[in-house]
């Protein structure tokens, strides 16, 4: 009597274990599915935020390009075209990501937000350089107008018998500096404006870095030209007041 009881208990215990295993497996599977579902939603949400941030950036760039008085018409048209293409593509990509059902789909779609548009690695810096380059062009034209006006004033002063040697010396310096700024800074816009996402990392990265150096040099030249023109003006003032 005692032995059968023990044997029965063992059997019952074994059967219980066998019966309990599928239940645990089902629970674990359900938990994994829930985690995956949560993970997909999280990824979609983060993708949507990334797209929204880029669309907002493109809107800001569009506003800036549309209202900038320094951008040439050609550059403005090109940049606005880039922004429009990027915005439309990102909106379409956002729709595709929202409809994705599996993590596999997301793994292929989400990286395209960065790779296909390079809003922050290409579009933003090249827009800044195009704007700065056209600003250099505007400053070159402005300072050239200053130099021309000072030349005319110096010519008249000289015709009236004043000594304008000092004025002309500063005007020569200014002309050299303006020419250098024109040579280094103005071409940057055309060097970078055709860069797109496919150019990342090279040649886009080195081209943008080179553009930055050119623009910084042009700024130095323009500052020096501005100073030279101020000196020329002072020299002319001294000449006629003497």
């Amino acid at each position: 009597m005692r032995m059968p009881t023990m044997r029965t208990l063992a059997i019952v215990g074994a059967l219980s274990l066998v019966m309990a295993l599928p239940t645990t497996a089902n629970a674990q599977e359900n938990s994994a599915n829930d985690d995956e579902r949560h993970s997909i939603e999280d990824v979609k949400e983060r993708a949507a935020e990334a797209i929204e941030r880029r669309l907002a950036t493109l809107d800001r760039l569009t506003e800036k390009a549309s209202t900038s008085p320094h951008l040439t018409d050609e550059h403005e048209t090109a940049l606005l075209g880039d922004y429009r293409v990027a915005s439309n593509g990102l909106e379409q990509l956002g729709d595709d990501i929202a409809q994705a059902q599996t993590a596999e789909e997301l793994r292929s779609l989400v990286p395209l937000i960065a790779k296909d548009y390079r809003v922050y690695l290409v579009i933003v810096p090249k827009s800044a350089e195009v704007g700065a380059s056209d600003r250099v062009r505007s400053a070159v034209e402005r300072l050239s107008a200053v130099a021309t006006t000072l030349h005319e004033a110096a010519d008249r002063a000289e015709a009236a018998g004043f000594d304008v040697t000092e004025t002309r010396r500063w005007l020569i310096s200014a002309a050299d500096e303006i020419a250098e700024a024109n040579r280094t800074g103005v071409p940057v816009a055309d060097l970078v404006i055709d860069l797109d996402a496919g150019d990342w990392e090279e040649p886009a990265k080195s081209t943008l870095e080179d553009g930055k150096r050119r623009l910084e040099n042009a700024r130095v030249d323009l500052r020096q030209a501005h100073g030279s023109l101020e000196k020329a003006r002072e020299a002319l003032r001294d000449a006629i007041d003497r």
Partner: protein, 184 residues
């Protein structure tokens, strides 16, 4: 007795002669008119140099109708002398219209320091402090230059704005190059 009569007759004869010759020479009021109406060319020609009066004094016979009677102080010569003498003494009186207003303006007046009418006033020496164009109230040249300098000031102010904008643009460039696409 005879000698007395001879003296009387001689006196009468001299008196009569004197009376008879005076009207025949120059009427006091006719000679000046003749000298004014028809001045001898040498008078004007000499007076242009300012030496005319002395020439007249030295050669009265050649200049005055009255000099036809060299032995007398004729009204004609007196008239000319009274006209010309002041000119000989004073350059200012050479402006008398009778003896050459025009020649005097071209000659003597040029030497007068006080005569500002004929002084050149438009030329100036810009290198001298007293000749500064601004010191005479401002010339059109200076005004033009001042206008151009005002334009320069305005353009330089706009260039300042351009350069300040360029500073901001370059700050954007630096910021743009430091960005990345971020984690998604």
């Amino acid at each position: 007795m005879t000698r007395r009569w001879a003296v009387v007759l001689l006196t009468v004869a001299v008196f009569a002669g004197a009376c008879s010759t005076r009207p025949a020479t120059t009427p006091p009021d006719a000679e000046p008119a003749a000298s004014v109406d028809e001045p001898a060319p040498p008078v004007g020609g000499v007076s242009t140099t300012g030496s005319g009066p002395s020439n007249l004094e030295n050669n009265p016979g050649s200049t005055s109708p009255g000099s036809t009677d060299p032995g007398s102080t004729t009204p004609g010569s007196t008239t000319l002398a009274s006209t010309i003498d002041p000119a000989a003494e004073s350059p200012a009186s050479d402006a008398s219209p009778e003896v050459g207003t025009v020649p005097d303006e071209a000659g003597i007046n040029d030497d007068e320091p006080g005569d500002t009418a004929a002084e050149p006033i438009e030329t100036f020496e810009p290198t001298g402090s007293d000749a500064s164009p601004e010191s005479d109230g401002g010339s059109p040249d200076i005004e033009d230059i001042e206008d151009l300098l005002a334009q320069v000031d305005d353009l330089l102010g706009q260039a300042d704005t351009d350069l300040a904008g360029l500073d901001r643009d370059l700050a954007d460039v630096v910021e743009g190059l430091n960005q990345d696409e971020g984690d998604i």
